[in-house]
Symmetry: C2
């Protein structure tokens, strides 16, 4: 049985085709369209493309869709989606089932990332570990005694909204001092822009002429040794380390694995996180914790969405 | 089969005798002696007392001991114990087995409290819930999909050392802004003493003449309507609410149950915690969370220690 897995992000939609053993049979990436109808059409096109290319006439049997936001899994609809407002309230699973004629399961994108990392990434060798996705916001997932923990209503591990500074920066969520106000790609861009005036020689000043500053640019300039970029990533990593210290004290995990677009900057981020945890976490808990980057930032979440669909399908759910 | 359960606290040792169904057959409470030898003798005396009184000549078959600190369960020894320094490095299980001639199992006191609350308290009707023990420090426990979560090395849920104020109060653990620096019984006493000067009419000023201020006194004066006591407990509850907000966003639990000595002040603490969570936690996660106080603050941890010993014994571990 082959499954397709989709990860709908605010910027891109990524799609994989896989068999039951997790062998990657196809990968596609397109820009996320604006309307729910265009999104359904685009996903339909991606799946149809896989089906036609699949070897030996193997059709796609089931589809898993990962999406940020609060979901109603039973109804297959997205309740709210901060990054893709067009999908709020939209019964995406039913629309896709109608279009494709196969079963469609939806799942939170962070949970899909954990499932993918556990199946084919760096998570498989641990029983108790955390996944931290660093992107526009900060998401999280936990594997507890070998199973993915989703909480009472499937919304657990909203670690981006853990306050580490009770009187600090306001968050649109209503809380103050939320981790993602300090350590997400959004925060990185914001804080770097704020510092531009102090770094007259920064290569970022020339790069942003006529365009907008992105986390990707900051990462690239950090690689070239730009002081501003390095300082900003360092600052972000310190904040992240404070948040991860809390999670190490709370979960006593074997490993913490970083995913999301910003995990590409892991070579700059991880050493600082490790040092901060070493300074701040309880001795008995920080000892031996592994800090890793996802095996494949681009494909893991959609692979996980496919895995979740396969599992549902095999259980006959 | 009958089991004895012991909870060794910094001030008191509490002991229960129970059968396999959790019927309470006996309860004793004594002051915690100073040396490890005296502690072993005292526990020996408590268990012998139960055995002689047990109906129909039913001897105590197994003993569970709950204790704060880092434990080596395999060896049955306490590695470090912040509140009972005499027990650090002491092989308490072996010493008790030698004295009593029965199997002895040790467990973290917070885990024992969770086991007791799940067995005979308010936790049994939930599958995913948190226990928060408010005492000298703040401890925690989590039930995840019906099982007690203890983490990689049995030290999970050190929520007293979750930082909610990264640049705030220093904690002996090495971190800053730890929740227990703001919301434990220790913090309550400290912050109340600091405010005494602003409340010349407070009944606490007369009560502490010639003695030391305790959390119990503050609770009692709050019940009598003392403004200082009420303000201090209110402040503590706000801090606690900020910490619990993080835990609600992280665990997406059905319920949060408060234990420990300070949970006696639940009527003052819980409404403020509930309001703070309502203001700060994510909408999808705060909805429907139950906030409860332990069914029996005095007996639940030792009952849980007995339950853990029974389970080990029945499994033949």
């Amino acid at each position: 049985m082959n499954a397709a897995g989709i990860d709908i992000g605010g910027t891109n939609i990524r799609a994989v085709l896989t068999d039951e053993s997790g062998t990657l049979l196809g990968f596609r990436k397109i820009s996320t369209p604006r309307t729910s109808r265009e999104i359904v059409d685009a996903i339909g096109g991606l799946v149809a493309g896989f089906a036609s290319r699949a070897a030996g006439g193997c059709a796609v049997s089931v589809l898993g869709v990962g999406c940020a936001g609060a979901l109603d899994r039973g109804r297959g609809s997205i309740i709210t989606s901060p990054n893709i407002p067009a999908l709020a309230g939209f019964p995406i699973a039913r629309a896709l089932e109608k279009k494709l004629g196969i079963r469609v399961f939806i799942e939170n994108d962070a949970t899909a990332a954990v499932a993918g990392e556990q199946w084919k990434g760096n998570g498989g060798r641990f029983s108790n570990w955390l996944m931290i996705t660093l992107g526009t916001g900060i998401g999280g997932g936990a594997v507890i005694n070998g199973g993915i923990y989703t909480g009472r209503s499937g919304a657990a591990l909203e670690i981006g909204h853990m306050s580490i500074d009770h009187g600090g920066r306001r968050c649109p969520c209503g809380n103050t001092g939320c981790l993602e106000r300090y350590a997400s790609a959004t925060a990185l861009v914001h804080d770097t822009r704020r510092r531009l005036g102090n770094f007259p020689g920064s290569s970022l000043r020339t790069r942003i002429k006529g365009t907008v500053l992105t986390a990707q640019m900051i990462y690239e300039e950090a690689r070239s040794g730009d002081e501003l970029a390095l300082q900003s990533i360092n600052e972000l990593s310190r904040w992240l380390g404070i948040g991860i210290t809390n999670l190490v004290n709370i979960f006593n995990p074997e490993a913490v694995i970083f995913g999301g677009g910003l995990s590409k900057a892991g070579r700059f981020i991880l050493p600082v996180v490790r040092n901060t945890v070493e300074e701040r976490a309880l001795k008995g808990l920080r000892k031996g914790v592994r800090f890793l980057v996802t095996k494949n930032e681009e494909k893991t979440p959609s692979l996980g969405a496919a895995k979740i669909a396969l599992d549902h399908s095999i259980k006959g759910a």
